[in-house]
């Protein structure tokens, strides 16, 4: 059974891990998406396809890859990151970045088609161009971030392997749900899932209002 204090602990860790991971993924994925949309460099097409394909990266594989790296006997074992929230954050960042990058690319490609000539006529630098597009796309980018957040919050395969679902240390909502499931406490597991969903709903609601405000400011 789960006690209230324990539930709070688990929820807090889930949020911490996933929010930090999504933040990092956004910091990498959004500029990457912008670069894929506006850059013209060799290998760009391959990179776009790769980023899209990486959306299908199985979490278990990411978990295993990191496990092999971070394990005591692995090349980065010295860092002692295995079974820490840091390892979980790294795993989720890897999983979420392709999603955010892929959607950002789509969003930026459309905007870039619209603004490219205008910005080039103004002699905007590459960096000014990226910043302008990010600013123009900010409300659409929120959907990309929400998709990433959904993936992170609901993800289990990777955090289970690199976190280890260790009680009071790396147990998050999804691994707790899996544990209760394997104990046969199916209804408790479903209830935990609904709590997770309610959390996700609350975050989405907050961002929805943020986005509506941005959108209204942009279009009126």
């Amino acid at each position: 059974m789960l006690f209230y204090s324990q539930l709070l602990e688990i929820v807090a860790l889930s949020l911490e891990v996933s929010l930090v991971a999504v933040m990092l993924a956004a910091l990498i994925g959004i500029p990457l998406g912008a670069l894929l949309a506006i850059g013209r460099f060799p290998g760009r097409t391959a990179l776009i396809v790769l980023v899209n394909a990486l959306m299908g990266l199985p979490p278990v594989v990411v978990g295993l890859g990191l496990y092999l790296l971070l394990s005591r006997s692995g090349p980065l074992g010295i860092l002692q990151l295995l079974y820490t929230p840091t390892a979980m954050i790294i795993a989720q960042t890897i999983l979420v970045t392709p999603i955010i990058a892929s959607f950002s690319h789509q969003i930026f490609a459309d905007l870039h088609r619209e603004y490219d000539e205008m910005l080039r006529a103004m002699r905007a630098s590459r960096w000014q161009t990226i910043l302008t597009l990010i600013r123009e796309a900010r409300h659409a980018l929120i959907t990309a971030i929400l998709a990433g957040l959904g993936r992170a919050l609901s993800e289990i395969g990777a955090v289970m392997i690199v976190g280890g679902n260790i009680n009071h240390a790396t147990r998050v909502m999804t691994t707790a749900i899996a544990l209760e499931t394997s104990k046969g406490n199916l209804r408790l597991a479903v209830s935990l899932g609904l709590i997770l969903l309610a959390l996700s709903f609350a975050i989405n609601l907050a961002l929805h209002f943020l986005r509506s405000r941005l959108e209204r400011a942009a279009h009126a």
């Binding site: 006997s73 009680n167 394997s182 104990k183």
Partner: protein, 257 residues
């Protein structure tokens, strides 16, 4: 209906490759096809209670008996056994190797505060481990000791974790022998009679689950308990070692479960 049953099983039997060896023999003899769903013991019994299986094969004697007492299953039958072993890092920081029995071994781990990976998932193995700690006069889970890590996952995952951080762990021998990621781990204690591990098989009660394939379940159990089935279990070897010891007809003394 179809000559096919669903077996709700623990993971250790599946991971060890036993079914891949046994089931073709069974099918040849009886024509019965078995679909194996391998999950945690608790989930296996729960699924069977929900009539999502015709037979259960697990190793948690008290839970099995309760399952029968609650009339979800018919008779419980001993099938085979093996034993639990204590594994840990080769260099054995807690000095468990020389321990007289499992009780002393666990006490040494606790004294050294060496990392110990516990299943923590209420499975047969986990319950066994808790009983052993209790017998050693310790309760590290309740004390929330930092060295005692409840992994809340299956045997394989727990062994991966033990390998990843160099921890001690209790495991059944079949899973250990078939386990490939041994890392720097080795068997550090074995052979204590308290580490006995009995597997049981139960047909789901057709009175509780009218649609189930009772004929198939009976065929399965009869074959498994028959001379042929028992011999087949005994003859399954992995890396030259016998993983399971049939004991349908000769439940050993000290079969505490």
């Amino acid at each position: 209906g179809k000559n096919e049953i669903i077996l709700q099983s623990t993971t250790s039997t599946q991971n060890s490759g036993l079914y891949e060896y046994l089931l073709p023999l069974l099918e040849r003899d009886t024509g019965l096809r078995v679909k194996v769903v391998a999950v945690g013991t608790g989930q296996a019994l729960k699924n069977a209670r929900n009539c999502d299986g015709d037979v259960v094969l697990v190793h948690a004697r008290d839970a099995e008996e309760k399952f029968v007492a609650d009339e979800y299953g018919l008779k419980r039958n001993d099938v085979m056994y093996n034993d639990f072993i204590l594994i840990g890092p080769e260099d054995d920081p807690a000095g468990v190797r020389g321990a007289r029995d499992i009780t002393e071994a666990l006490q040494r781990i606790a004294a050294a505060k060496a990392p110990f990976a516990s299943r923590g998932d209420d499975s047969g193995t986990h319950r066994k481990e808790l009983r052993l700690w209790k017998a050693a006069g310790l309760d590290p889970g309740a004390a929330r000791e930092g060295w005692y890590r409840e992994t809340g996952s299956g045997m394989g995952a727990t062994l991966n974790i033990a390998a990843g951080m160099g921890a001690y762990a209790l495991t059944d021998r079949a899973t250990w022998i078939s386990f490939a990621n041994k890392g720097g781990l080795a068997i550090l204690h074995e052979g204590d009679p308290a580490l006995f591990n009995q597997y049981g098989v139960i047909a789901v009660n057709p009175a509780h689950c009218p649609g189930m394939n009772i004929k198939g379940a009976e065929t399965f159990i009869t074959w498994l308990l028959s001379e042929k089935g028992q011999k087949a279990i005994a003859s399954y070897r992995l890396k030259g070692q016998q993983l399971f010891f049939p004991n349908a007809h000769s439940a050993l003394p000290g079969n505490g479960g």
